[in-house]
């Protein structure tokens, strides 16, 4: 090969090389360091003597404490998933396929808990149903009912997980049910199947891929969820889960980082296996039944069950949204810390709205708010560009190793957020770039954490645009970059902007992947809530939770409007 050709080739592959290097540092290195740390007897630190190799941490995983944590994680995983599936699919079915009244209410019930993030829901339930001073228990006692609701239990945690993740199930199953070709159901009823037989033999099998997909997604999210067990697992019975245990290992002094790494690898193996199972399962199924020819599926007449169904939805809405909201409001606004009777609870004279105003005007809140918005914006823009670049290489070039590129981009899906954050921490301590302590490291962490979502969303829009359009610009003499900027990017701008918005919202909600990375100066809202809770300021935690939920709601409504306008 001539020198000029080599040069041209290397210039050609230069961007790919940069991208590969970037992904190596952002994804492979953090994971690699965790694996490495789990096999050493000292934490990985720059300049330090490398510790000795040991398998002790893996052997220690078999001690009773870890096994209990594993058992709890699995119980909560199965229980939470089952609960979320029942709630989510029931709401989806009512909304998409029945003539239940008040469809708006059902749709709200389906998605609303999403705005409260699991952190806020857990916090709300800890003040609602702690065994003695919990607001619900105070009311139960006041009206003379002899039982106590204790949220600081395994079933309490499962309940909060089910509410928090039901919206994911609702969204996935709702779209499957709405797109379903009704011909099959019609065929069944024409051949004499009863309504129940039709549901059992036709409808359920047809939404099965969506249901299984949702179940595995929710299971992974529940198992790696850290705020819920951190808040509800330490109030009464001590319920240890793997993520909560990992967090505690990092927070004891001196921290037990190598054990935490080994635990993180274990958690990762669980999620990798699940995601892999899901792929195998989905690969074997054909989706042709869920094509959506624009046919509206027939609605099932619930008859006399219409109103009980609406009642149940209302009850659920009350439990999942209204109660937590009221609980947080009472906690944030009341000046009375010690509540003994329902009279104390509803003594509005003790409510002080200026507390919320003071909190909103507080330096710490304002600082966290601007950090959250900056991180969200950074993740939306930088993450968007990064995910676009990867998607472009994967779908639009014949660059070698693009299949591998896709695999790497999807990798963060299987790595629990807490573990990813830990890997990030060590990576950026070891690299000679002082990113720790800046907002930039939070932006990078969220951009990596949500890379699978960003990559998928952009990929789906890129493949809709035929490459010939861009290639003609290239043939006519424009550079590749210019062709992308003037042809492809404008054509998929709706998809790009929606992805960026999605990334922004996800980053705004994030706690787990950044909890090891923030410092006093780079706190985001979710961390302020967690920190207030951890330092015993439950009233302030509740106040910030309220403001935070309103903010998420406002952003989502604005974004939702934007989507509708574009559709």
């Amino acid at each position: 090969m001539t020198g000029a050709a080599t040069l041209r080739l290397s210039v050609h592959y230069l961007p790919l090389g940069v991208l590969a290097a970037l992904l190596f540092v952002l994804i492979l290195m953090p994971i690699g360091i965790i694996v490495y740390a789990s096999l050493l007897d000292t934490p990985p630190r720059p300049g330090a003597v490398v510790g000795a190799m040991t398998f002790d941490h893996y052997r220690d995983l078999l001690n009773p404490a870890n096994l209990t944590a594993l058992k709890n994680s699995l119980i909560i995983g199965f229980g939470g998933t089952a609960g979320a599936l029942v709630i989510g699919s029931a709401l989806a079915w009512l909304s998409a396929r029945t003539n239940a009244p008040a469809k708006v209410l059902i749709r709200i019930a389906g998605v609303a808990p999403m705005f409260m993030s699991s952190l806020v829901t857990a916090l709300a339930w800890s003040v609602l149903a702690s065994p003695i001073s919990g607001q619900l228990n105070v009311i139960l006692k006041s009206i003379g009912l002899p039982f106590v609701i204790d949220i600081y239990t395994l079933s309490g945690i499962i309940f909060v997980m089910a509410i928090s993740y039901a919206p994911y199930v609702y969204l996935l199953i709702n779209s499957a049910l709405s797109l379903m070709n009704p011909d099959f159901e019609d065929a069944a009823s024409i051949h004499g199947a009863s309504r129940w037989q039709t549901i059992r033999l036709v409808t359920i099998p047809m939404v099965m891929p969506a249901a299984i997909g949702a179940a595995i997604l929710v299971f992974v999210l529940v198992v790696e969820n850290f705020p819920v067990p951190a808040i509800l697992g330490s109030g009464g019975e001590r319920i240890q889960t793997i993520p909560a245990f990992l967090f505690r290992l990092m927070n004891v002094a001196p921290s037990r980082a190598n054990e935490a790494a080994a635990l993180g690898i274990t958690l990762t193996i669980i999620t990798v296996v699940l995601v892999w199972l899901q792929r195998i399962y989905l690969a074997r199924r054909s989706y042709t039944t869920v094509t959506g020819k624009g046919l509206r599926p027939r609605l099932i007449d619930l008859g006399p069950w219409r109103w009980p169904a609406a009642g149940l939805v209302t009850l659920y809405l009350l439990i999942a949204v209204v109660l937590p909201f009221l609980a947080l409001s009472q906690t944030a606004l009341s000046t009375r810390r010690f509540v003994r009777t329902s009279g104390d609870l509803f003594n509005f004279a003790t409510y002080d709205f200026s507390r919320l105003v003071t909190l909103a005007a507080d330096n710490r809140f304002q600082h966290a708010l601007s950090n959250s918005l900056l991180t969200a914006a950074g993740c939306a823009v930088l993450g968007g560009i990064l995910h676009f670049t990867i998607a472009y290489y994967v779908h639009r070039t014949r660059a070698p190793g693009r299949g591998l590129l896709e695999q790497i981009a999807m990798l963060p899906l299987s790595v629990p957020a807490l573990v990813l954050g830990l890997g990030f921490l060590w990576t950026w301590f070891l690299l000679p770039i002082p990113l720790y302590g800046t907002l930039f490291i939070l932006i990078l962490a969220t951009a990596v954490r949500f890379m699978p979502q960003g990559f998928r969303a952009i990929s789906s829009t890129i493949v809709q645009v035929h490459p010939d359009l861009e290639d003609s610009a290239y043939m006519a003499g424009a550079s590749r970059l210019r062709s992308i900027c003037t042809i492809t990017a404008p054509l998929i701008r709706t998809g790009l902007v929606s992805t960026a918005l999605l990334l922004g919202i996800l980053a705004m909600r994030e706690l787990s992947s950044v909890i090891f990375l923030f410092t006093h100066d780079t706190m985001m809202l979710a961390m302020v809530i967690f920190d207030f809770w951890e330092t015993g300021s439950v009233a302030r935690a509740a106040g910030v939770s309220l403001l935070y939920s309103f903010l998420l709601l406002a952003i989502t409504v604005v974004v939702g409007r934007w989507f509708q306008l574009r559709e």
Binding site: P131, G235, Q240, N251, R337, E534, T535, G536, V538
Partner: protein, 364 residues
């Protein structure tokens, strides 16, 4: 022309009040003299000139953000020097310091850590520099260079007990640590805190050294509610989830000031002290301002700030007792302050912590 004039007028307006203010803040100092506050020398002329050149220093501190702020404000009022504080929990700070030091980018001039094992670890890693502040010779031996490290103890905080006034009758209030074994506190009425950092570890070790392992086993049999931090324990007490609990006087007093019906109990058999440690960083970029801080913290002014602003026990003789909420505690000379063996604090931690977790039924 006009703008230049107005600019210089504006500059005058900015500078004059500053000069006036500094005249009030530092009545006894000028550039070429010693720094003397209330007739105590804080820095000789050479150090003081260099410290003013520094103007500020960076403090890595695992104290609570409120304590950090109170301390740096008091120091700033006394000397005019500024403290840039980087607060974090002890475990986090430790990792950060070692990592930054390893990479040669340690930003701290002064390190303040609330944990014996961690400060010893920093000393082993050669991150700390030895410095004997003015007044060091008057410091009692127990506060000097514990475990022969290049650091000292500027203050002690204490572990006490606390109770909910709405739930516990006056006659039932426990008076001693041993009263907690009374059957009336059985079954989730007692709040306890897990050993995560220095304060809880000192408490558990002293209780075990004094009353034996049986005592902690007895506590475990009471089925206490165990939280991860004393702040959360105090919150549970405030809400009435538990009736009696371990607690740090400052945070219990804070909860009471916020309207919670809680009160501190100072056990008759002793308030269990835990030490805080401070040291100069070996790689300090502004060591002079940091040295002035170390001199000040041991001076009567600094020690008074510790008692009155931070609500902790100063270490110098003759210093006042801490002001906790509206109560002033008896001074060090009158109060019964107990503490575990300093060497055991380092030596027994891992073993006792594991046994503790097992005793309390947290691990199998």
């Amino acid at each position: 022309m006009r703008s230049v004039v107005s600019k210089s007028i504006r500059r005058c307006f900015a500078v004059v009040p500053l000069m006036l203010a500094s005249a009030f803040v530092m009545p006894e100092t000028s550039l070429s003299e010693d720094l003397v506050i209330n007739s105590t020398t804080i820095a000789d002329a050479e150090l003081w000139a260099a410290a003013q050149e520094d103007g500020s220093f960076t403090l890595y501190s695992s104290q609570s953000p409120t304590a950090n702020e109170a301390m740096s404000t008091a120091f700033n009022e006394a000397t005019g020097l500024t403290v840039d504080t980087v607060p974090a929990t002890a475990a986090r700070l430790y990792e950060r310091i070692l990592s930054e030091a390893g990479a040669g980018v340690l930003n701290a001039d002064l390190i303040w850590i609330t944990d014996a094992a961690l400060i010893a670890g920093l000393a082993t890693n050669n991150v700390l520099a030895s410095y004997e502040p003015l007044g060091y010779d008057k410091l009692a031996a127990e506060f000097k260079a514990p475990n022969n490290g290049p650091y000292f103890i500027p203050l002690q905080a204490v572990n006490a007990l606390s109770y909910n006034k709405e739930l516990v009758a006056e006659a039932d209030v426990p008076k001693k640590w041993s009263d907690l074994l009374d059957p009336k506190w059985a079954d989730r009425k007692l709040g306890w805190t897990q050993v995560t950092g220095g304060s809880n570890w000192s408490r558990e070790l002293w209780l075990r050294e004094t009353y034996g392992q049986e005592y902690l086993e007895g506590i475990a049999r009471q089925k206490p509610i165990i939280s991860d931090s004393n702040a959360v324990t105090t919150e549970l007490l405030s809400r009435g989830e538990v009736m009696v609990a371990v607690g740090l006087p400052a945070s219990v007093a804070q909860a009471a000031a916020d309207g919670a019906p809680v009160e501190v109990i100072f056990p008759e058999d002793g308030m269990i002290a835990y030490n805080q440690y401070v040291a100069l960083a070996a790689s300090a970029k502004k060591p002079n301002a940091a040295k002035v801080f170390l001199n000040w913290i041991l001076s009567p002014g600094g020690q008074e700030a510790i008692a009155l602003k931070l609500g902790n026990y100063p270490v110098m003789e003759g210093a006042p007792g801490p002001l906790v909420g509206e109560r002033t505690l008896p001074s060090r000379d009158e109060a019964l302050i107990v503490q575990p063996n300093e060497e055991n604090l380092l030596k027994l931690r891992e073993q006792y912590q594991e046994e503790w977790l097992r005793m309390m039924g947290i691990t199998g």
